[in-house]
Symmetry: C2
Subunit: 479 residues, 2 copies
């Protein structure tokens, strides 16, 4: 156990806070609910941005930037939207020393400001599809905050696309939730359930919302990304029409989709352990750290010279040699474990003699002796293995903690202990969901997509109302 | 001349606005003074970010993120700083449906919120130097705005570093202004003067400010980047001390430095012409566009097949084949010229027969016939040449429009026509600068660094007060 980090088995929630602070990922700021993202945490976000940005561009999107400020009247143009977001808004009433004629809201999300621009950008079917993404900060005045998971200001990306038909918008909405799934699984090594949100959980202003849901180590769900089919709601609110090939003026169909710095919290809670952060290699801005071991100046020089010789032609972003004199190797081991660096390479005088090094894996603590020759390739293979192993372990944990339950009494007893529950629930009736939430603090996380044929065909009575249902939903307590 | 773009010779200012809009770089938003950065403009900013971020990391900096909101009381802790920025601030007075206990200012710059965090981060000489950069949006409520050059909200990076000694802080301040110079010259192909700001032009709260100043095509100056030695001002305001090696508690020394989306405006005004934007290859997210030329389906297929064959192994980010059927080649030529794509490759049926293509340079309009074999390498060489030629042309223009003037009457007559003026001016006396500004709307852009020995030794009377001065300053009208 690392110094100052509560064990997960003692208090999972405190473990998370301790880890975030000790690993120097983030801290609260003097502004209520806002966080400072420190370099270790921001480094993870940068890796996420790089991978996602590439995936967005590969699917035909380009980046743009829209104003931070949204006139209050804009927010009010879409009825459900304003109801959902107005209570959480921060409002600018004065600027440049004067009271403003109209208050400006700090964007809680950018649908309204963006669709007001799309009115000028779109007039013909030739302007469609319009595939835009924005990297930005947004603000939602939350009452209860947790570093990364729920903060007043957070960083995110928000895609906002416009299409000629409902079918194309739907295709885009699905494409992007699958991009999020691929990112979560291939880069974060975080398995997810993909599915549709119920009516009461969908985005304010959308026809429907798709999502990815990850399972944290305490068995709670984390909504990790959402993709909304907005239908023509915002096009109608902002009068965005296009002349179709048939000459007819039609309203545009929209989508929006986003992931945020909350993913950093998800990464921590999927892989972290009692020693600190564990970074999947694809999320590590520094994959390998060399810790030289020496006594006295002569050994120091020999060991450092050798480490530099081995790494001479390596990409400087791939490794670092920790040559700090003021710290002992044991201190360095603990520090790099705390920060989750995937591989540690130990090199001492005897290793230099024997042309070998000792490599330690962060996830399994496994140590192995490897020849210096061909070390770079061996480390890369190990990193690949580690990436896959972390995903496999997380997937196994998620599967083992996903339960099929049919009796509401049993559900009420078990759901508080964590885990996902596949249940029959009459999601057409919001009162049923409301009652479940009141009784158990749990919610429907999604109506899952990827069931096998048998599961899809399965029918049964709603565990609360008894009404016949086709197909199970996934319910759990969540962050 | 491109359709809808005023000629530079007719109205330079209108040319700029027309170009920014027609090339779809940016547009005003419904929020006063805020702009929407459209994909073409944002693409340039992304190239700038990539190059700068790499340069910052190569000089040892890491990224972090601090809150958008600054408590009003923080701004007031440094006397000069609040005087400089308070009048331009946007203020959040309400959030989450309630009036706030303390108003929050949208950051106009982040010194105060960052130094309040540094108080917790720094306690020992081991914590120094602290080398942090932030990519963020900031807000200054400007009365007169111009797209990219001066907007209420803009995007920028702000470096904030902390050091043990004055000498180290000074070294950092100089290092970063030289990084900005290198970026401007090597990537933007925009030559700059590097120097120190006068007392009246320095950053509010700094000991002194260094800057790079570019010359736009109308001869006006554009301040393109600044680097401030903050001394111990912010450390004292926020009580940031460290225990030095000698055991004594001392105040930390700080620097800050930044460039913004204003650079996009600088790039346009350095290289743009009457046909539109001209991108130096190092700033082009798309360096090469193929425009196929055909009549009828058969030719279309032959030409497109050949273009795809030539480019089969090329990096997809290097080129695009414009295979849109609804537009004629002439339309496509004009569109890509408007958007500043460095090289256009024309390929028609006769070119396919002769295994050649026609390549047109955006900057010189020069056309040349090149064999298909080895085309990729030839294009890369051409791009290198173009990058150098653009810099050389801009440097020549800057040199030709930098004048040595000693007589104030002559200065008053000439400065309104544009150009930089090397003059003797008693910058120790703010009244002299104030008078010059009142008489001529011009200011001291910098006290330049890179004079030759003869220039450094030169002495003469201040052109306004007659007081003896050593070394000339650069004065000009500016954006």
């Amino acid at each position: 156990m690392a110094k100052g980090i509560t064990k997960r088995s003692v208090d999972y929630s405190q473990w998370y806070v301790d880890l975030v602070r000790k690993a120097e990922m983030a801290d609260y700021s003097p502004v209520r609910g806002c966080m400072v993202i420190k370099p270790t945490g921001y480094g993870v976000w940068e890796k996420m941005q790089q991978a996602l940005d590439r995936m967005f561009k590969e699917t035909g999107h380009v980046n743009a930037y829209f104003p931070l400020f949204v006139p209050e009247s804009f927010l009010q143009k879409e009825a459900e939207h304003v109801e959902g977001f107005a209570p959480e808004c921060a409002v600018v009433t004065h600027a440049g020393g004067k009271k403003l004629e109209e208050n400006l809201v700090i964007r809680p999300t950018s649908e309204t400001i963006i669709w007001s621009a799309y009115k000028d950008w779109i007039s013909s079917h030739r302007d469609l599809p319009l595939l835009i993404n924005q990297w930005a900060n947004v603000c939602r005045w939350e009452m209860r905050t947790r570093l990364f998971l729920r903060t007043t200001e957070f960083l995110w990306q928000e895609g906002h696309t416009a299409h000629a038909t409902h079918e194309e918008a739907e295709e885009e909405t699905l494409r992007m939730v699958r991009v999020y799934q691929r990112f979560a699984e291939d880069f974060m090594a975080m398995p997810v359930y993909v599915g549709r949100k119920t009516e009461s959980e969908k985005f304010a202003g959308a026809l429907h919302t798709y999502c990815i849901e990850g399972m944290m180590q305490d068995g709670k769900a984390l909504q990790a990304g959402t993709s909304h089919n907005l239908g023509q709601n915002f096009a109608k609110a902002f009068d965005v029409k296009f002349q179709d090939k048939d000459g007819v003026l039609k309203y545009v169909h929209g989508t929006s989709w986003g992931v945020s710095t909350r993913l950093v919290g998800g990464l921590i809670m999927t892989h972290g352990d009692d020693k600190g952060l564990v970074l999947p290699p694809n999320m590590a801005s520094l994959p390998v750290v060399f810790v030289p071991i020496w006594r006295g100046e002569e050994q120091r020089n020999a060991v450092l010279d050798k480490a530099r010789e081995i790494t001479r032609d390596w990409d400087p972003l791939f490794y670092r040699i920790d040559d700090r004199d003021q710290y002992k190797p044991g201190y360095k081991f603990a520090e790099w474990e705390l920060k989750g660096i995937p591989l540690r390479v130990e090199i001492g005088p005897r290793d230099v003699e024997n042309n070998q090094v000792v490599v330690a894996r962060r996830d399994t603590s496994e140590k192995m002796t490897l020849p210096m020759e061909g070390l770079r390739e061996k480390l890369e293979t190990l990193l690949d293995t580690m990436q896959q192993d972390l995903f496999a372990a997380a997937r196994e944990r998620m599967d083992a903690n996903t339960h099929v339950v049919d009796c509401y009494e049993e559900y009420k007893e078990r759901v508080g202990q964590g885990g996902f529950y596949k249940v029959f629930l009459d999601v057409a009736n919001p009162e049923v969901e409301a009652r479940m939430q009141e009784d158990t603090k749990s919610t429907v996380r999604c109506i899952p997509f990827d069931l096998d044929e048998a599961e899809k065909a399965e029918e049964g009575p709603c565990m609360i109302s008894g009404k016949p249902c086709k197909g199970r939903v996934i319910a759990a307590q969540s962050y």
